[in-house]
Symmetry: C2
Subunit: 185 residues, 2 copies
């Protein structure tokens, strides 16, 4: 289990505001899965909402539509290989979470698991918008609970202790940018 | 005028994939405006689409709804003060672009201007989805043309020559993260 503290819902947009790539975890019945998603963003402050693209071809899509729930996990640089692995193969016919060796912790408000070792987690309930789900693979969610590793985010601020615990931004072809220096304009 | 080269439409998602904060420029009739938007993402590869949140209270919202067009400009770290300035005040009753001293260049496919000195530009036509525009302030756009400064992006790859020309990721309270080191998982 990762160490984690609750993030007030009104501050949960800060976990996505800088545009990190996330892992989308899901579960329904006996099945569970995780995939990577560079295409995500905050959508509202309070009550907090998020948007994420989940392709029709994925097992995640099936599980999210069936359960009406998902978790956005914000992975660390030390999880980049894991992020790439879960972004590269389908979860059909296997337990991808098990295959990539990820440990999980039960979420508080949804059935989808929290991926251990991440920097932050947003537990979400799908806001049903069937037209945009079908036409654009676009899913909206209300954030029901949010958590962060207090070593990297507390009191509404990111403070990465070292490069291994920075968030990451997928580019393409297996490459990422690490989140860089903080500065004030 | 900024130096710029065309980015093939099928590669334009790479300009947003790593989650940078953008400037949304718009124009209608005699009015034009620009605002900052951390809440943006790519939505599809080809034909390329984007999603961006544009609050109801903004002049940008009026101009985008009236014209059906916008440009996503990807600003550089050296434009962080500009990004903060255009994100902090309304364009109502003033020409905000003029006030912040930004030079512009005419776009090729839309009436909204390109903000000079940025790293990249995506010219977009709104995909009308009145329900999600009204309910979530969420706008979808098809990318009609894309451009980049060849010193920072060419042949489908980012290659920042120095820290001043890195892209940026808004945090809150006037602070940003610079886009950091590229690495392979």
């Amino acid at each position: 289990m990762s160490e984690r503290i609750a993030v007030p819902l009104s501050k949960s947009y800060l976990l996505l505001n800088h545009g990190p790539t996330v892992l989308v975890s899901s579960a329904h019945g006996e099945k569970r899965n995780v995939m990577a998603a560079a295409w995500n963003m905050a959508l509202d402050f309070d009550p907090p909402k998020v948007a994420v693209v989940i392709d029709k071809s994925t097992l995640t899509r099936e599980l999210v539509e069936a359960s009406g729930e998902f978790v956005l996990n914000v992975p660390a640089r030390e999880q980049a290989a894991l992020t790439l692995a879960v972004g590269s193969e389908s979860g059909r016919g296997i337990d991808k979470i098990l295959k990539v060796g990820a440990a999980t912790t039960a979420a508080s408000r949804v059935g989808a698991p929290l991926i251990d070792g991440c920097l932050a987690w947003l537990e979400c309930r799908v806001i049903p918008e069937p037209h945009i789900q079908k036409a654009y693979d676009l899913f909206l969610g209300e954030v029901l609970a949010a958590w962060a590793d207090p070593a990297v985010f507390s009191n509404g601020r990111w403070h990465f202790p070292d490069d291994a615990r920075r968030s990451i931004h997928y580019i393409s072809g297996g490459s990422f940018f690490a989140t860089g220096d903080e500065f004030t304009a």
